[in-house]
């Protein structure tokens, strides 16, 4: 299926450390997006990387995409307590997205 699979399922780090989350998928995609969900809230779009891109940056976020391995990674540098949330990847074909089960990130102050 197109559903993304995030790894690890849970991650706990100290404030200031970097956090890396991985996503794997099984079919061809046009783009891959990462979203954040704070507890009890809707999802917020973080970053979109197209299938012909290998790396993209946005502030403290760095996303890589390897279409040959059908995988992506999200790196959050210099983490803050406010980064505590669940992170989901969404491999996409056109306007159709399939979310995985997410990585739960806890940043300890």
């Amino acid at each position: 299926s197109q559903q993304g699979e995030e790894d690890p399922q849970a991650l706990s780090i100290q404030e200031g450390e970097n956090a890396t989350m991985n996503c794997s998928y099984k079919t061809s995609i046009n783009n891959l997006q990462w979203y954040r969900q704070n507890s009890g809230r809707g999802l917020v779009h973080l970053i979109l990387i197209r299938s012909n891109e290998r790396e993209k940056h946005s502030g403290r976020l760095r996303v890589t995409l390897d279409t040959s391995k059908k995988s992506s990674s999200l790196l959050i540098t210099a983490s803050r307590a406010a980064d505590t949330a669940s992170y989901f990847c969404a491999p996409a074909t056109g306007n159709q997205f399939y979310f995985g089960t997410g990585t739960s990130l806890t940043v300890i102050p």
Partner: protein
């Protein structure tokens, strides 16, 4: 720009009752999605509309769930009759259509508890 609006925010019903959720997408967004998110899981797409036509409803339990998007703007999702396993957060999202790819904008969700 106003975000995606959903109502109600919370709903508690007994099993076998019916319930309806409403979503108002961002103005100009032709694509509208309904997701079901069970606690601890990722959002599961129930139905996707482009304007007022259905693009994908392959995971919508059609024996009890229905959705419509009249005039290509607002949408309602209905469950009748509800089961205990329908307890979840129902998320609505919208995105632009032409010239994509585009990110989805999510509403705050409706938390449904079926007792």
């Amino acid at each position: 720009e106003a975000g995606v609006a959903q109502s109600p925010r919370y709903k508690i019903i007994e099993k076998r009752q019916s319930v309806a959720f409403w979503c108002n997408p961002i103005s100009g967004h032709a694509t509208l999605y309904w997701y079901q998110q069970i606690l601890g899981q990722g959002p599961k797409l129930l139905i996707q509309f482009q304007n007022n036509g259905v693009v994908d409803d392959s995971q919508l339990p059609k024996d009890r769930f229905s959705a419509e998007r009249l005039k290509g703007v607002d949408s309602t999702l209905k469950i009748q009759p509800a089961k205990l396993e329908d307890s979840a957060v129902y998320l609505c999202a919208s995105s632009l259509l032409v010239g994509g790819p585009y990110e989805q904008y999510f509403g705050p969700g409706t938390r449904l508890t079926v007792t």
